[in-house]
């Protein structure tokens, strides 16, 4: 399985999420976040937020809201069991809060391989905005695809 560079530029389906305060508390619990600004509306308001702010990595969850969020991986012919998360970047423009309707628009921006094809890389850039178009953040995800048919040791 070799990824075709013609997929570069492919826009993936946009996903919309209404950020829910209960979901933010669940996320805070799951990551062990104890700073009350992320879980307690009174603490959030005392810190100048109208509602709960989202923790910095929560934005990754938006595009996973679609019914089959990894369909695009399968569509590329990639076995989900062979992928690893290689890199993740967030560039923040404004903090999203509970009650915001946010939209993630992902696009495949690069594919390349290393070690003679033993490892292939998919780069996906996702713009997150509010429904009014205001920018929340830009995400960059690098996914590593391990090809079991090529041994890295042999290909060096």
């Amino acid at each position: 399985m070799t990824l075709d560079s013609t997929v570069i530029g492919t826009e993936l389906p946009a996903t919309e999420m209404t950020i829910d305060a209960g979901r933010l508390r669940f996320f805070a619990k799951a990551i062990g976040e104890t700073n009350p600004v992320f879980t307690d509306a009174v603490a959030a308001q005392a810190a100048g937020h109208q509602t709960l702010p989202v923790p910095p990595t929560f934005l990754f969850a938006i595009e996973l809201e679609s019914p089959d969020p990894f369909a695009w991986v399968a569509d590329l012919g990639v076995d989900m069991r062979r992928i690893l998360h290689g890199e993740q970047q967030f560039t923040y423009h404004s903090v999203a809060h509970a009650g915001d309707v946010v939209i993630a628009k992902p696009r495949i921006t690069d594919v390349y391989s290393k070690k003679g094809g033993a490892l292939q890389f998919i780069v996906k850039d996702t713009a997150v905005t509010r429904a009014d178009g205001s920018a929340v953040a830009d995400l960059k995800t690098v996914i590593v695809v391990q090809n079991p048919n090529v041994k890295a040791e042999d290909a060096k």
């Binding site: 062990g32 969850a61 996973l64 989900m80 970047q89």
Partner: protein, 137 residues
């Protein structure tokens, strides 16, 4: 904010965040909370079908743990960028510790910003994540 550092200067270390043994429950909760239902993190049968002995933790769970170093120190609206590279998988029952230090302090766009060097390592020394963040200070 709950954490303080001794001095706002290059080389200052942020209070580390140490995670007790990552349980299967932790992975199940994170799958639900993050929306990442990839079975490689929660279903040992699928992990075994791929030739692994067991499930392993979501990379984004470690990035979230590491992010707590930042949110313990600065307000979310003061975080400009946060980026990591995943270097090794985190097994079930691993005990990661997230650490950070100030690598640079600069004046950018009229605000003072600190660049943080970040790392997560397991109890056996395996480095699972390295990263950087830029925050307004």
């Amino acid at each position: 904010m709950t954490a303080t550092i001794d001095a706002l200067e290059v080389g200052a270390e942020l209070p580390p965040v140490a995670i007790a043994s990552i349980s299967r429950t932790a992975l199940a909760l994170f799958a639900g909370a993050s929306g990442d239902h990839n079975p490689m993190h929660i279903d040992i049968d699928v992990a075994k079908s791929a030739g692994l002995d067991d499930v392993f933790a979501h990379g984004m769970l470690s990035m979230a743990y590491l992010g707590r170093i930042i949110t313990n120190w600065v307000a979310p609206e003061d975080i400009r960028t946060y980026a990591v590279r995943f270097g090794a998988i985190t097994p079930v029952h691993a005990e990661p510790t997230a650490r950070g230090r100030i690598a640079a302090i600069d004046e950018v766009d009229g605000e003072r910003r600190a660049t943080l060097e970040l790392v997560v390592a397991l109890a056996d020394g395996t480095v699972t994540l390295t990263g950087t963040a830029v925050v307004a200070v």
